[in-house]
């Protein structure tokens, strides 16, 4: 069997005014970037509720990109500043959940920066590829032993020995 290389799923929340237009620019300029990114257009990077991020990871995303206008350029004056404040806390929380901080990235991409968008996606995709799959949905679907009738696999071998 041919071993397939791991292709990460990356969800990208792009603000419609700068980053989404920047991604469009990358497209119209025929710049190449990996197809791993699934783009969700939002009105502002400040609209990206941490709930969306958690949900994306739970439903199978391996990486997550939030991109918005450069600080000071926000269409809504300070929406992206809210993102800037929230982001470090979100990363801290995800790390506590066991999700590596390299799996989430905040980038400022303006409407003219098609090239930057393509570079960011390339770099991010290869970084997530190195980390391997997150498999949160697999973790979620692990049933408790009583439901499946299978004995718990959580015990490490040494703990089992210690028991006996």
């Amino acid at each position: 069997m041919i071993q397939k290389e791991f292709e990460p799923k990356i969800v990208g929340f792009l603000c419609t005014w700068c980053s989404y237009t920047g991604a469009d620019m990358a497209g119209t300029s025929r710049m190449k970037y990996p197809p791993n990114i699934l783009i969700v257009r939002v009105m502002c990077s400040g609209r990206v509720d941490p709930t969306f991020v958690l949900k994306a990871f739970r439903e199978g995303a391996d990486g997550l990109l939030i991109a918005g206008c450069h600080p000071g350029d926000c269409h809504y004056i300070n929406g992206n500043m809210k993102t800037l404040r929230r982001f470090p806390l979100l990363v801290k929380l995800l790390e506590e959940f066991g999700i590596e901080k390299e799996r989430i990235r905040l980038e400022w991409v303006s409407a003219a920066e098609g090239e930057k968008f393509s570079t960011v996606v390339k770099a991010f995709t290869s970084a997530v590829k190195k980390l391997g799959p997150l498999n949160w949905s697999m973790l979620e679907n692990q049933k408790n032993p009583a439901q499946t009738g299978v004995k718990s696999e959580s015990f490490s071998p040494d703990l089992r020995e210690a028991e006996l």
Partner: protein
């Protein structure tokens, strides 16, 4: 006419919810008059075998408190679900996993290691752990399976109503029981006895524009009276938490801990709480923001104090590599 049948049960909980039921004081006599209490292991000697003899849906109301931690809890949740017409998750643990849900930051292995080996007061040189099956001369002894992940009641069986709180306040319990007694229950899936806004709506403190230069846990700062605690930098879960408690803790100069669970329409209480907290930081400088956020030392414990099991991610991912 026969009286409607009432069952009460506890699973992974501290017992506070059982006391909270008695908090309705003399009205408990009304409950005893109106209902035929058929199962309440905390206060009377009922056997599981007696419960199994009931027909399906023969019990009218079941108040279930506590999270699902072991196979025994799960068994009883399923059994009571089958026997009861209306299943109510009573208290924060049944609703969202509560404090026991915080154990989802660990797994069975690490919890057993801590409890039976590492704690300073434990002497266990032979590294003995409880075993599910054990042969005694008198016969076989079985204890329930301890699960890796704590679940809320809703994640285990279908639940009709929720009564939030740690524990539910007297008025919340009574409002909920009244709704059951007098009829006119809201649509299935509703919260009984609680509000549908946030704690801030009921909080008596004066609120102004929020601008925070530093976060403090409640023991680190003496709060000024009457001013919103969040404006003073004291971490308060009010903006993300369901109303219904009438700001009890806030009246006592303590911040909200979030025991009434996520406010109406909120999917993940921690995400909303975190979002509300971080958005009001008074700085646009990355370094300064980082410094201000150092005041939040335990994100999961702060944002998901009562709701980790019921949250989107539910538990911590424990690296598989260590296990070998």
């Amino acid at each position: 006419m026969t009286k409607p049948k009432l069952a009460l049960n506890w699973a992974a909980s501290c017992g506070g919810c059982e006391i909270a039921v008695l908090e309705i004081k003399e009205k408990i006599l009304d409950v005893a008059n109106l209902f035929d209490i058929v199962f309440w292991p905390c206060v009377m000697d009922f056997k599981y075998a007696d419960l199994e003899k009931f027909k399906s849906k023969e019990i009218d109301l079941c108040l279930f408190n506590g999270a699902i931690r072991t196979s025994e809890h799960e068994h009883l949740a399923r059994l009571l679900r089958d026997k009861s017409k209306v299943m109510v998750a009573y208290g924060a643990c049944a609703c969202e996993g509560g404090i026991p849900g915080l154990a989802n930051q660990f797994n069975k292995e690490s919890i057993f290691q801590r409890v039976y080996i590492d704690t300073p007061s434990t002497l266990n040189p032979d590294k003995k752990f409880p075993q599910e099956n054990y042969d005694m001369p008198e016969g076989k002894i079985q204890i329930p399976t301890f699960y890796d992940t704590v679940k809320s009641l809703k994640q285990t069986v279908q639940v009709e109503y929720f009564i939030p709180g740690c524990p539910p306040l007297e008025k919340t319990t009574w409002k909920a029981l009244e709704a059951v007694i007098k009829g006119g229950l809201p649509p299935v899936g509703s919260y009984l006895g609680a509000g549908d806004k946030t704690v801030c709506e009921e909080c008596p403190r004066k609120k102004d524009e929020k601008k925070i230069k530093g976060f403090y846990r409640s023991h680190l700062k003496l709060p000024e009276p009457e001013k919103c605690l969040l404006e003073q930098g004291i971490i308060c879960a009010g903006p993300a938490t369901r109303s219904g408690c009438e700001g009890t803790c806030l009246k006592a100069n303590l911040p909200c801990w979030g025991c009434y669970g996520p406010a109406q329409g909120v999917v993940d209480v921690g995400a909303k709480f975190m979002s509300a907290l971080a958005s009001v930081i008074d700085s646009d400088d990355e370094k300064e923001i980082g410094k201000i956020l150092e005041g939040i030392v335990d994100p999961i414990g702060t944002f998901y104090r009562f709701g980790l099991a019921g949250s989107i991610l539910r538990r911590k991912k424990i690296s598989q590599e260590k296990k070998g």
